[in-house]
């Protein structure tokens, strides 16, 4: 099968070996779980349990609300001890509405629907089961998976791409998942394909994972509709836009969805969760997390109940060898700095990476050399040095005109910058500022409408008063005449 090349990209050191060689371990059940109500893109889930209530494993704790949302389920059986603010796994360190669950150690499952032949289900039934299981994209973006499946009703999907790229350094959770659960992953892939009505399916795996490639090829051999494709290892191969152009040669236009060009992309972890949800009616209550980085004593992949505090995971992996210079949730390129170890693992947590000072490469920045390396590596063809100059001068609107909105925040530019400019941070700031301005614009338009409505209301009131007065005075005249 022909492979296309996307522009730019980098080859960061993989650092995957320390975790890729160990089988996935299972975390002993933590005492307390902290389950945020917002673990996905969209509206937060609405709680439907009370403090003090006993819940069973897999029981729904909060239902989805709005069109883009996902429910959350109890990762184990136990008692709800609190519903309130807890630190979110987010660089701001702000709190998020969280259900605190104290486990009873029984792991007693709620009665689930009986297992069925998943291929006897209709497309709508598959999508409903995926939605009810609370499945979101497990690659990190955490977009509700059922919404993506339903997009197949509006746009005909030609190609389903399963993302086994895992291009971020250190992360190996998808690699281990494909090696150890290839059969389930392939079944999940087939279910997603039938849920979408996709005509062909491509499972794309970077060539730095030969064992995973082999396992997936063996598992998919019986299904002629599925191609397992070896793609070159180049960051950001696992980004949706770059993977789509590598596999199909098509470019997703700016501001459009991949579904609009007939392509849908799902992560391998999502495929496994879909298989569990549709075949066994089991909701998403745990995931594989890579515990990596030089500061972790025993780096490895771990199956973790959603809501486990990061501190418990670190302890399970032998603690830190040195005080980490930075602890990240996600990979080192696009991961977010964790504000503290009490933050919980959520559905989108692919890894916890504790970097030593040597790995973090903290270096003092210098002036831009205009060397243009950032331009060479930008996978979307932006000119980061021009954007940075404008953003720094506060000319956010100019930066938006130069395509700031198309930036993936992949960090390639910051990675190669010889002056160590914090380009990715600068662009995240600019994108936030653009969003804030759009919000202000919307508010200004609303204000204008409200002020106009008030003016009309006052005018109508005055007119009504005048009409009443004239009616009264003409009555008087009639009586007088």
């Amino acid at each position: 099968m022909k492979i296309f090349r996307f522009r730019g990209g980098i080859h960061p050191e993989g650092n995957k070996d320390p975790t890729a060689c160990h089988p996935i371990a299972r975390l002993p059940l933590p005492k307390r779980l902290y389950i945020p109500l917002q673990q996905h893109i969209g509206e937060p889930a609405a709680p439907e349990v009370k403090v003090g209530q006993h819940v069973l494993k897999g029981q729904r704790l909060a239902r989805h609300q709005g069109s883009v949302s996902a429910p959350v389920h109890a990762p184990t059986s136990g008692t709800v001890v609190a519903i309130g603010d807890h630190m979110a796994p987010h660089p701001s360190g702000l709190p998020v509405q969280t259900i605190t669950l104290e486990s009873d150690g029984e792991e007693c499952w709620v009665a689930t629907e009986p297992a069925v032949d998943p291929f006897s289900l209709s497309r709508a039934e598959v999508s409903a089961r995926v939605r009810d299981a609370g499945i979101v994209g497990l690659g990190g973006a955490a977009f509700p998976a059922a919404v993506k499946l339903d997009a197949g009703n509006r746009h005909p999907i030609e190609t389903l791409i399963i993302n086994g790229g895992e291009c971020e350094p250190y992360l190996t959770c998808d690699d281990r998942l494909m090696r150890e659960g290839a059969g389930y992953v392939v079944e999940g892939v087939r279910l997603i394909a039938s849920g979408l009505g996709a005509r062909r399916t491509v499972i794309a795996i970077e060539d730095n994972k030969p064992e995973a490639l082999e396992a997936m090829r063996a598992a998919a051999a019986a299904h002629p509709g599925i191609t397992v494709l070896r793609v070159p290892s180049r960051y950001p191969m696992g980004s949706e836009k770059q993977l789509v152009s590598t596999v199909t040669g098509l470019e997703i236009p700016a501001g459009k969805l991949s579904a609009e060009i007939g392509v849908s992309v799902h992560n391998v972890g999502t495929a496994l969760a879909v298989c569990r949800a549709v075949r066994f009616a089991k909701p998403l209550v745990s995931r594989v997390v890579t515990m990596g980085g030089g500061a972790i004593r025993n780096p490895r992949n771990v199956v973790v109940p959603i809501g486990t505090p990061v501190a418990d995971l670190v302890e399970f992996c032998g603690g830190f060898t040195v005080t980490p210079s930075r602890v990240l949730m996600g990979g080192p390129m696009m991961g977010q700095v964790l504000p503290g170890l009490e933050a919980p693992v959520v559905k989108g947590t692919s890894g916890i990476i504790a970097l030593t000072a040597a790995e973090a490469h903290a270096a003092s920045q210098r002036a831009c050399l205009h060397c243009g390396r950032c331009v060479d590596v930008c996978p979307v063809g932006l000119v980061p040095l021009d954007l940075a100059a404008r953003v720094r001068a506060g000319r956010i609107d100019d930066a938006a005109e130069l395509g700031m909105g198309d930036c993936l925040s992949c960090g390639c530019c910051a990675y190669v910058c010889p002056a160590h400019l914090p380009l990715a941070h600068l662009f995240n700031y600019a994108k936030g500022e653009i969003a804030a301005r759009r919000e202000a614009q919307r508010k200004a338009e609303d204000t204008r409408k409200l002020a106009e409505a008030r003016r009309l209301r006052l005018a109508a009131e005055i007119a009504a008063k005048a009409a009443r007065r004239s009616a009264r005075s003409s009555d008087n005249v009639e009586i007088g005449s």
Binding site: L94, G394, E439, D446
Partner: protein, 179 residues
């Protein structure tokens, strides 16, 4: 009979005066400066009066005439200042504009006496309530202009910054060495 005569007289007077007014507006009417019009478009249009002018149209005229700075509009903040600077074509350093961010009015429940004065003063109808009932501000519609706080007889309305949540949190600007 007398009523018909009086009605007819007033109606005729109205017609004649109206016709005269129409003619006057055609010949003597003030033409709106297109620059002023664009500035008025860019301003929030809530007539809140925080700039010191009675309304947005007067403020726009002052900006166009150069007698008021482009940074005059507190609710508009930096974004509006930038747009005004672009319209009238002046150099403008956005770094020097304090952007205190949007504010929201909040009624202190133990101070509110239900006088409904704030309701009448609100330029965007953002306050709900009735006489002798507790009033409440609709955050979505409030522009933080402070008109209500000024008229409140008990000083029971505070202007507060919008609390930072995960939904409106943004990355701060990184510190950058010299360029």
């Amino acid at each position: 009979m007398m009523m018909i005569v009086s009605v007819a007289a007033v109606a005729a007077l109205g017609l004649v005066l109206g016709w005269l007014l129409g003619l006057a507006s055609q010949w003597l009417g003030a033409t709106v400066d297109p620059v002023v019009e664009r500035i008025t478009e860019a301003l929030p249009g809530s007539q809140c009066g925080q700039c010191g002018y009675p309304g947005c149209a007067q403020a726009a005229a002052a900006v166009a005439a150069g007698s008021a700075p482009v940074t005059l509009c507190p609710p508009g903040g930096r974004a509006v200042a930038e747009k005004l600077a672009e319209i009238i074509g002046t150099a403008f350093d956005p770094g020097n504009v304090p952007d205190r961010g949007p504010l929201l009015a909040r009624v202190r429940t133990d101070y509110c006496i239900g006088c409904s004065r704030c309701i009448k003063s609100c330029p965007t109808d953002a306050i709900l309530g009735a006489t002798k009932q507790l009033h409440v501000v609709l955050g979505e519609a409030c522009i933080g202009c402070g008109a209500c706080a000024e008229v409140c007889p008990t000083g029971g309305i505070d202007l507060e910054g919008i609390p930072v949540t995960l939904r409106n949190w943004r990355w701060h600007k990184p510190g950058l060495g010299k360029a």
